[in-house]
C-alpha cells in the first residue's frame, strides 16, 4: 500500500513523489490534500496533492525537506512505501472561469498552485503563472506550468533565473503594465501570501490563498488547524484549506505556525545524523 513508483528531486531539498493510491487518485479535486505518516512513530502531516492520474491510480506529492518528517520522506525512493496515507481531504478549490487568472507560487507553494492553475486553465481562464524561489534551483515545476499556462514567469530573489525580484514585484509589474487580472491564487510562505493579498486588496482583485497551518488529524476532529478568517475561527482542514485572502489574519497564522519551532529544531538535530547515515546506506 502507498507504494512510491517515482521519486526525483526537483530542487536541492524538494522531492517529487508519485504514489500508488487509487481511491485518492480517483476522488481528488484540485486544492485537496492528504495526511501522511512516514513511519510507525511518525507525525501526521498534511501535503497538498500536486497532481493525480486516475487511470494509473497515482497521486503526486511534492515535499520540501525542512523538518524531520519531510526530510525523512525525502529519503524515500521508488519501491518504498509511506506508512499511512489518507485523503483526499479539505474543500476543493473554487474553480470558475474568472477571465484572467494569475497563479502565484512561492518555493514549494508552487506545488499547491500547479493543480489549481491546471484546473483554472481547463475552466477557460487565461492563466498567467508566477513561480518564485530564492534562486534558480528553488523554482519548481516551471516546465509543467508552461504546458498549462498562457504565460509563465519564474522569479528569483538573487536574479539567477527569470525575473529578478519577489513574486509580488512581478505581480505589481503586471498590474502596472495594465494587465487585466480577474483572479489571483497564491500559495507559499505566509509572508508571501500576505504580501500578495496586500497588493490585490488595493486593486480589489478577488484572491484565494491556500493556508498551511499545523494539523494533527486533518479530518475535522482536533481543532489544531484553527485560523482567523473574517474574525471568525475556521478549521482549515474541513473549512479550507482555501480562503479569501483579504479576510485571512496572516499574522496569527504565522505565530501559530511557530508553536513547535523549538521542538522541531531539537527533533531535527537529534535525527540529522541518523538521516545522514540512512542516506549513506542508500547510496551504498
Amino acid at each position: 500500500m502507498n507504494t512510491i513508483v517515482e521519486a526525483r528531486f526537483l530542487g536541492p531539498d524538494t522531492k517529487l513523489l508519485r504514489i500508488v493510491a487509487p481511491p485518492i487518485a480517483r476522488k481528488r479535486k484540485p486544492g485537496q490534500f492528504v495526511i501522511a505518516r512516514v513511519h510507525a512513530e511518525g507525525e501526521r502531516i498534511p501535503l497538498t496533492i500536486a497532481d493525480a492520474d486516475a487511470e494509473q491510480g497515482t497521486i503526486t506529492l511534492i515535499v520540501l525537506g525542512i523538518g524531520k518528517t519531510t526530510k525523512l520522506i525525502n529519503t524515500l525512493e521508488a519501491g518504498d512505501c509511506l506508512e499511512d496515507l489518507a485523503g483526499p481531504l479539505g474543500q476543493p478549490s473554487d474553480i470558475q472561469n474568472f477571465g484572467t487568472a494569475v497563479c502565484i507560487g512561492g518555493g514549494v507553494g508552487t506545488a499547491v498552485v500547479f493543480p489549481i492553475a491546471k484546473a483554472l486553465k481547463s475552466a477557460g481562464n487565461y492563466v498567467i503563472s508566477i513561480a518564485g524561489g530564492r534562486d534558480a534551483a528553488s523554482v519548481i515545476l516551471e516546465n509543467e506550468l508552461r504546458q498549462i499556462s498562457d504565460e509563465v514567469y519564474p522569479t528569483t530573489d538573487d536574479g539567477s533565473h527569470g525575473f529578478h525580484g519577489l513574486v509580488t514585484d512581478k505581480l505589481q509589474e503586471l498590474i502596472d503594465a495594465g494587465q487585466r487580472i480577474d483572479y489571483v491564487f497564491a500559495s507559499g510562505p505566509v509572508p508571501m501570501m500576505q504580501a500578495v493579498a496586500a497588493i490585490t486588496a488595493r486593486y480589489e482583485i478577488k484572491t484565494g490563498v491556500s493556508l498551511n497551518p499545523i494539523m494533527v488529524d486533518g479530518t475535522g476532529m482536533c481543532g489544531g488547524c484553527r485560523a482567523l478568517v473574517n474574525n471568525q475561527t475556521v478549521f482549515v482542514c474541513v473549512d479550507g484549506p482555501e480562503f479569501d485572502a483579504h479576510q485571512v489574519d496572516f499574522d496569527t497564522l504565522m505565530l501559530r505556525n511557530r508553536m513547535y519551532r523549538e521542538q522541531e529544531e531539537a527533533s531535527l538535530d537529534a535525527h540529522q545524523c541518523k538521516l545522514e547515515a540512512h542516506a549513506d546506506m542508500r547510496r551504498a
Partner: protein
C-alpha cells in the same frame, strides 16, 4: 461463602479497587486502577443480595443481566460470567473501566439506599480481564453467512459494537476508519492511565479474528461517499463520533499554548507526544508549567491529569459551577484530587492574554455565582459584576465539548441533520432519513458516553438485521 445470610452479606464492606499510589502514578501513564484479585472479586460479588426485582439492570443503558453475572462470580464461574455480560455488552473490559456507574447501575443498586452499592463496574472489569488474560476473548458461535454486506463507518465504541453484533448475525462487515489506528475515542481520547490501549487492541483483534474487515486511513465522504458505499454494501452504519471542538469564543484563543482537549489528548494518546522526540509528534513542554483546564467533564479530568503526568507544576480545573455540578465521574474527580489537581470553582475565563510573540501568559477569570436552574436542571452560573481576576498560566486547554463533524453531511445531501449538524435518526431503529443508512453514537447525540454509543451501535445492528431481512420496508 455461597450460603451467607443476608445479614452477613450486608456486613461485607465495599471492596476498594487497588490503585497505584498517587505520588507514583502521577509520574507515569500506566493504569491507575489495578483491578481486583480473585478473592476480592468474589468477596465483593457476595455483597450482592440477589434482589427479586433487581433495579441495577434498569440503570444499565444496555440492560446487562447484572445479578446473574455477579452470582457466577460468587461461584467462580468466570467464563460463564463473561458470556452473560457479553450477551448485552460487547466491550465489557472497556465499560467496566469508563462507564459512569455511579449514575447508572450502581445508582439504582438497592444497597445504595442504605450504604455503598455493589461495585458492579469493578466486577465487570474483573470478569472481562479474567477472560482476556486466562482464556482469551471468547467468540460466540457465528450464524450461517447471510451473504449480506454491511459497512460500518468509524471504529469507536458505536462502530465496534455494531460490527460485533452484525458479524455474529452472519453478515459480512467492513469497518472504515479515518485515522491510522483503530478504536476511535478509545485510543485518541481516553488516556492510557484510564483505559490501556492493549485492552482496546484486544477487542479489535478479537473482531478481526472473527472476520470483521478493517480499513484504516479511509475517510467516508471523501475517499468514498456514503452513496458509493450503498452501491456495494446492503446497509451502512454511521458511527463517526463527535466532531470539531467547541471553543469559548473569547479573545486570545489563537495564542500559542492554547489547546482544545481533542488536540491535546490526540497528541498525547494517539500520537504519543509524551514520548517526544522518540515519537515525532511534538507537544507544548509542560515541565514545571502552570496549566489551566476549562471544563468539568471526564475529558477535562483526562486533560488535567495528563498535564501532571507531563510534568506540569500546577494543573488547575477552572469550572463555572460548583463541585456538585461537575459532570465528570466521581472516581475521576477523586483521582484528580489525590494526584494534586487543583479545582477553581465558580470561575469562567473571559480573556486569554499573551505576549508579543503570541504566547499565552495569563487568563482573566470572571467570578460566578449560581442562579436559578437552567434547561439542563442545573443551576445557571451568573457573573458577579466587577469580580474578575487575572492568573498567570503557561498553557490552557478548552474542554467544553464538541460539535459535529461536517464531512458526511456535506457529502451526503439527502441525509437529514439537525441545526447542530447531528444526524437525525429514529431513536427506536437508528434509521436515518436515507434508505439503508443507520447512525448512532456521538454523531447523533452530541458528546455522550462510551456505553451510550455502544448501546446505540447494538440497537442499530439489530435494526440493520431487520432491514436486511425486509429491505423493501423503510
Amino acid at each position: 461463602m455461597a450460603d451467607l445470610t443476608l445479614k452477613e452479606r450486608l456486613n461485607i464492606p465495599r471492596q476498594h479497587i487497588p490503585e497505584q499510589d498517587p505520588q507514583e502514578r502521577v509520574r507515569n501513564f500506566q493504569e491507575v486502577n489495578l483491578g481486583y484479585d480473585e478473592e476480592t472479586a468474589v468477596l465483593e460479588a457476595n455483597r450482592c443480595i440477589q434482589c427479586k426485582k433487581p433495579q441495577c439492570v434498569d440503570g444499565c443503558p444496555v440492560l446487562v443481566d447484572i445479578p446473574e453475572f455477579i452470582q457466577l462470580v460468587v461461584e467462580r464461574r468466570f467464563r460463564e460470567a463473561a458470556a452473560v455480560i457479553k450477551k448485552d455488552n460487547t466491550l465489557p473490559a472497556v465499560c467496566g473501566r469508563v462507564c459512569p456507574q455511579e449514575v447508572q447501575c450502581e445508582a439504582t443498586c438497592v444497597l445504595s439506599k442504605r450504604g455503598e452499592p455493589v461495585a458492579i463496574g469493578h466486577l465487570e472489569r474483573y470478569v472481562a480481564d479474567w477472560e482476556r488474560e486466562h482464556i482469551g476473548i471468547q467468540i460466540p458461535e457465528k450464524r450461517e453467512p447471510t451473504g449480506k454486506r454491511v459497512a460500518v463507518v468509524g471504529s469507536g465504541p458505536a462502530g465496534l459494537s455494531c460490527a460485533d453484533d452484525l458479524i455474529l448475525m452472519g453478515h459480512a462487515v467492513t469497518v472504515f476508519e479515518a485515522l491510522h489506528a483503530l478504536g476511535g475515542v478509545l485510543v485518541y481520547g481516553i488516556p492510557e492511565f484510564r483505559l490501556p490501549k492493549a485492552v482496546v487492541q484486544a477487542e479489535v483483534d478479537a473482531l478481526d479474528q472473527f472476520g470483521v474487515e478493517f480499513r484504516t486511513n479511509y475517510i467516508i465522504g471523501f475517499t468514498e461517499t456514503v452513496d458509493e458505499l450503498l452501491a456495494r454494501f446492503d446497509a451502512v452504519f454511521l458511527g463517526v463520533g463527535a466532531g470539531l471542538p467547541y471553543f469559548l469564543d473569547i479573545p486570545g484563543e489563537h495564542l500559542n499554548g492554547v489547546y482544545s482537549a481533542n488536540e491535546y489528548l490526540t497528541r498525547v494518546n494517539l500520537m504519543k507526544a509524551y514520548d517526544f522526540p522518540r515519537s515525532d509528534t511534538p507537544m507544548f513542554d509542560m515541565q514545571d508549567k502552570n496549566v489551566a483546564v476549562f471544563g468539568g467533564g471526564n475529558t477535562a479530568m483526562d486533560v488535567v491529569r495528563t498535564s501532571l503526568r507531563l510534568g506540569a507544576k500546577r494543573a488547575v480545573i477552572m469550572y463555572r459551577r460548583t463541585e456538585a455540578e461537575l459532570p465528570a465521574r466521581i472516581e475521576e474527580v477523586i483521582h484528580a484530587k489525590e494526584e494534586g489537581v487543583e479545582f477553581m470553582l465558580l470561575v469562567s475565563p473571559i480573556e486569554l492574554i499573551g505576549d508579543e510573540n503570541g504566547w499565552l501568559t495569563s487568563v482573566r477569570l470572571q467570578h460566578m455565582e449560581l442562579g436559578a436552574p437552567d434547561a439542563s436542571g442545573r443551576r445557571r452560573p451568573l457573573p458577579i459584576e466587577g469580580q474578575t481576576e487575572e492568573i498567570p498560566i503557561d498553557a490552557a486547554v478548552i474542554a467544553i465539548g464538541n460539535g459535529s463533524n461536517p464531512i458526511i453531511p456535506q457529502t451526503t445531501p439527502d441525509l437529514e441533520v439537525n441545526r447542530w449538524g447531528n444526524i437525525i435518526v429514529d431513536s427506536q431503529t437508528m434509521r436515518t432519513s436515507k434508505k439503508g443508512v443507520f447512525a448512532g453514537g456521538d454523531i447523533v447525540t452530541g458528546g455522550a458516553t462510551v456505553i451510550l454509543a455502544m448501546g446505540a451501535g447494538r440497537i442499530a445492528a439489530k435494526s440493520i438485521n431487520d432491514y436486511l431481512n425486509h429491505p423493501d420496508v423503510w
